[in-house]
């Protein structure tokens, strides 16, 4: 079966776009083929800095023939109808049509249209130009002489040549005949810009890869990554060092070279005074180089790995020397930042925060810091932190935003603050909190342990959430520009993983209070406008969080259906206890009993048009009830009291145990007692008893939400 080889060679494609573009190319071409009925055996796309390539294997040489019957008017129909039929079916005259007899409608014309399968080559020539013209680059451009005309071809950077061949393995493939904006598809391409500048011809994918390899181009990005990673590790190992691996950087660097050549450079050991993270940030961001660790520990080594695109005639000496110069200049800058930053105490930087707008409706960073500090002090006792330390930590938490180092490398926020705080002799908990108050930054990030960190982290997130709710900037669909979902998840993880008992409503009101005092002129009213909505947002996030931990969503719903659930820790504990209970026989049977009771109640209440929500008549039960009925009444009274007491003591296991005592009496009741007794008073009393069962279960959860 024939194969398609397509190569779109251009000037340098941004590294970050390559992988996606290759995937888009594969999908667009194969989708267009399948849409036209052309199935294929396999397709793989590739990207280097200077080309996208696609191999589609196992295409048919031509499409299937199509036979279509088109029914025409009856024989003897008016001329206009006959002409319309001929035209529509593409017939010259009626002699090309046949006639068919229908038992009901008589004789009518029939056109049999047979279309031979189209040549795949022609179909490719038809679909490829429009795919190229409409390619979904995130950003594209016009260029050259052609750009004077409207509708000129757009590509990510100037497109230089197109290779498009199609044919079976055994024959010379044909060139797919098409052109886009004067670029004619052909069979000629080029290899590495410097190492193999001569043009060469390719015929099909089988020889394309090896030819490129000879022309010093590694086509497959994953192979380039592999080469870089292994060569880097080997180079490091040979010097007794460890590579600090970095998948994001590796991906980017593999998109900057067609022929990776890994080299090692070094820098003066005196730069190692600069914090390791800052060294790494500067070498990574500005130079796209990897840093190295000493083999015997965590300390950085004064060396780095660079990936060049050239087999240099001097073995890379000049390239290494050049990179070392730049790294030296960059590290000199970093060292200068570090030294200058150290000279100013963090608290002396605070006035600068007053001139930085956090959000135009939420005041300055300075105002925000004041809010967080006050809130952290209030929250401190709830998390077992010293209020003064929490206040101090929150006050200094954002000061590093105006340091030179963080200005240059925003990703070092928090971390640099911690270093500077430590140098100026702050309490260790304060130092830790300055770094950790941003945490957790997502579902897998570490949750801080130091209570001071926890207090500031909570205050930071609650202020953010309340603030954006107050100005009605809530996340919608996939849009969450202020990362509010992450902030809410952070609160949930802090509360649960650090076992913090906190009334969310109260804390949110507190945050709102500080908001109106500092920063926001006319926020929405928390009570009527947004508190229920914000609590519902937390409930949603909690569901996501618990679901990912394996909890059943119906149990979460069953707990949230109870009123006043704003203590997230209690919600979680309750869900856990409920889950365990329902895994026991007692639990399952009680649930079954509950469902039965609820069903009967639903039916009878509907039939009678009234609710049976009064307390059962104890005297009537005692005088006229069956023994099982009396036993259930007694059991309900005591179970409900103990369950309620246990819930009040936050002993959910105990509450479940109390409910489990109901199982036997409930089972016995349904076994022996007929609910719909002849005597209306007795019937009503039995229904009230079932309602009491429903009420008792509500002490722990809304059982009606539980499935199964």
């Amino acid at each position: 079966m024939p194969d398609l080889l397509l190569e779109l060679r251009s000037e340098e494609i941004p590294a970050r776009m390559q992988r996606r573009a290759a995937e888009d190319l594969r999908k667009l071409v194969t989708d267009a083929l399948v849409e036209r009925g052309f199935l294929y055996e396999g397709a793989k796309a590739f990207a280097t800095p200077r080309r996208l390539a696609l191999h589609v294997a196992g295409l048919p040489p031509r499409g299937e023939a199509v036979r279509e019957e088109r029914r025409g008017p009856r024989v003897g129909a008016p001329e206009a109808a006959v002409q319309g039929f001929l035209k529509g079916a593409g017939l010259a005259s009626l002699s090309e049509a046949t006639t068919v007899t229908d038992p009901k409608k008589g004789e009518f014309y029939l056109a049999v249209i047979e279309r031979p399968g189209r040549e795949t080559l022609d179909v490719l020539a038809e679909i490829l130009p429009s795919i190229i013209r409409n390619f979904p680059w995130p950003k594209s451009m016009r260029w050259g002489r052609a750009s004077a005309q409207p509708g000129a071809l757009r590509w990510v950077r100037p497109l230089q040549s197109i290779v498009a061949t199609f044919g079976p393995e055994t024959e010379t493939p044909e060139t797919v005949p098409f052109a886009v904006d004067g670029i004619e598809a052909g069979t000629v391409t080029y290899g590495h810009r410097f190492l193999a500048p001569a043009a060469f011809e390719v015929r099909r994918f089988d020889d394309y890869g090896p030819s490129l390899e000879r022309a010093k181009v590694v086509l497959d990005a994953d192979r380039r990554k592999d080469i870089i990673l292994h060569d880097a590790r080997d180079l490091a190992f040979a010097r007794g060092l460890d590579l600090v691996e970095d998948e994001g950087l590796l991906e980017e660097v593999a998109g900057l070279v067609e022929w990776p050549v890994v080299l090692m450079g070094s820098f003066d050991a005196s730069f190692l005074d600069i914090p390791a993270e800052a060294i790494r940030a500067t070498i990574r961001a500005n130079q796209k180089c990897f840093v190295l660790r000493r083999g015997d520990g965590e300390d950085l080594a004064p060396a780095f790995i660079l990936v060049s695109n050239l087999v240099a005639s001097d073995g890379g000496a000049a390239i290494t020397a050049g990179n070392e110069r730049v790294v030296r200049a960059r590290l000199s800058d970093a060292k200068f930042f570090w030294e200058t930053d150290k000279a100013i105490r963090l608290e002396d930087r605070l006035p600068k925060l007053d001139s930085i707008v956090f959000h135009e409706k939420l005041g300055t960073q300075g105002q925000r810091v004041e809010r967080i500090a006050t809130l952290a002090r209030d929250l401190a006792p709830l998390v077992g932190a010293d209020p003064d330390l929490a206040h101090r930590a929150a006050t200094l938490a954002k000061a590093d935003l105006v340091t030179e180092m963080v200005g240059e490398f925003p990703e070092l926020q928090g971390l640099m603050g911690r270093k500077y705080a430590s140098l100026q002799g702050e309490h260790p908990s304060v130092c830790a909190a300055i770094e950790e108050h941003y945490k957790p930054l997502g579902p897998s990030d570490r949750v801080p342990t130091d209570p001071v960190s926890v207090a500031v982290a909570l205050a930071d997130k609650l202020d953010t959430l309340v603030g954006f709710w107050a100005i009605d900037e809530k996340p919608t669909g996939s849009k969450d520009p202020y990362a509010l979902r992450r902030a809410a998840l952070g609160v949930i993880r802090l509360i649960n993983e650090r076992q913090i008992k906190i009334g969310l409503t109260k804390s949110l009101r507190q945050a709102d209070h500080f908001l109106s005092e500092k920063g926001v002129s006319a926020p929405a009213k928390i009570e009527e406008d947004y508190l229920p909505d914000l609590l519902a947002f937390f409930a949603d996030r909690l569901k996501v969080y618990l679901r990912e931990k394996g909890a059943r969503h119906d149990l979460i719903d069953a707990v949230f259906a109870l009123p006043g659930q704003d203590d997230l820790l209690m919600v979680v504990r309750r869900v856990e206890a409920l889950g365990k209970f329902l895994e026991t026989d007692d639990g399952r049977n009680l649930l079954a009993g509950y469902k039965r009771a609820a069903n009967i109640l639903r039916i009878e209440e509907k039939k009678d048009g009234r609710a049976y929500d009064a307390e059962p008549d104890a005297a009537l039960t005692a005088s006229s009830g069956q023994p099982e009925e009396r036993a259930l009444a007694d059991a309900l009274a005591s179970a409900r009291t103990s369950a309620s007491a246990a819930v009040a003591a936050e002993d959910f296991e105990g509450a479940m145990r109390a409910l489990s005592t109901l199982r036997a009496p409930v089972d016995a009741f349904f076994d022996k007692v007929t609910v719909n007794a002849e005597d209306p008073a007795l019937r009503a009393n039995r229904l009230a008893l079932l309602n009491a069962l429903r009420a008792a279960t509500r002490e722990v959860a809304e059982f009606s939400k539980i499935e199964g």
Binding site: S140, Q149, I319, A321, G322, N323, R325
Partner: protein
């Protein structure tokens, strides 16, 4: 007797400039002299901003002293200057082999392409003040950015048709590289040796110190605010005066109006360096300059040089 000077591009700053001029002159560029106004980058020169607009072909190359008041370091930083040189090349429409021409120019100034790692790293250029943007790269030589390479897509808010290719060489950096010098002030300027050697520091160190003081401490902000307002007003009035026949006919004063736009832009940069423009005001100043640039671009497109 004049002593021997070495004008090889690796031996002197001016040798580097002369070599680039020779190279681009051979490509048919007009070699212009710097624009006689203070600008932040070579792009502001009307030979780039205005000539990039309209259908007429254009090839030019020139050195442009560029002023970045905020980058002043009192002569104490080995890499940062508030006044430095850019070598600017503008080719409209961009030739198909512009990357190859660029690489040949590096070869001409002594960068051996068999020894050095040249890379084109994504860098999309945008000038909010000029209402301009383009796609292209930072050109890296052994990990150091030595040039900017841009295909102009829009200037002064107008689509470029055809597109111009712009190359900007950072001359001091490039010279430091080819001369193997770590500190810009140590660059050999004239190619002389011994007592005849003139360094970049001999020429510019004092100026860097003086202008840093001026930019950060002394620049008369009241005067600058007035100048900004005056330039803005003048720009608008020249634009009106240049179209006596109304907004349909030829425009006759696009370039003098554009000078005032350049002026406003530089005055804004000085005010910014003095720290007297707040974050929110900053945006509105940039917008005001952009409005001037757009109006000047529109006028240029109605001149003999800019129209079809």
């Amino acid at each position: 007797m004049s002593s021997a000077v070495d004008l090889a591009p690796e031996a002197s700053f001016q040798g580097l400039i002369l070599t680039l001029q020779q190279f681009w002159a051979a490509q048919g560029c007009v070699i212009l002299q710097p624009y006689d106004m203070e600008v932040g980058a070579g792009t502001f020169h009307p030979a780039t901003t205005l000539r990039a607009l309209g259908p007429k072909p254009w090839k030019a190359a020139y050195v442009q002293p560029s002023r970045r008041p905020k980058d002043g370091r009192y002569g104490e930083n080995p890499n940062r200057l508030q006044h430095y040189y850019q070598f600017q090349v503008i080719l409209k429409p961009n030739p198909e082999n512009l990357q190859d021409l660029y690489l040949a120019s590096l070869d001409a100034i002594g960068v051996d392409l068999g020894l050095h790692d040249i890379r084109f790293v994504e860098d999309d250029w945008e000038s909010p003040t000029l209402g301009a943007w383009g796609l292209g790269w930072e050109c890296w030589c052994d990990g150091m950015e030595v040039s900017q390479f841009t295909y102009f897509q829009q200037v002064a808010g107008f689509e470029c048709a055809p597109v111009a290719g712009e190359l900007t060489y950072g001359l001091e950096r490039l010279a430091m590289y080819v001369q193997g010098v770590e500190n810009v002030y140590d660059l050999n300027f004239n190619g002389g040796a011994g007592a005849d050697k003139v360094t970049y520091g001999d020429v510019f160190l004092q100026a860097e110190q003086e202008y840093s003081r001026h930019n950060f401490e002394a620049a008369d902000t009241a005067m600058l605010f007035r100048q900004f307002a005056d330039a803005e007003k003048a720009c608008r009035s020249y634009l009106v005066a240049g179209e006596p026949d109304g907004p349909e006919g030829r425009h006759r004063m696009a370039q003098p109006a554009y000078d005032q736009c350049i002026k406003a832009s530089h005055v804004f940069n000085l005010l910014d360096a003095r720290g007297v423009i707040s974050v929110t005001e900053r945006q509105s100043y940039i917008l005001r300059v952009r409005e001037l640039a757009k109006a000047c671009g529109a006028a240029w497109l109605r001149t003999a040089g800019g129209a079809a």
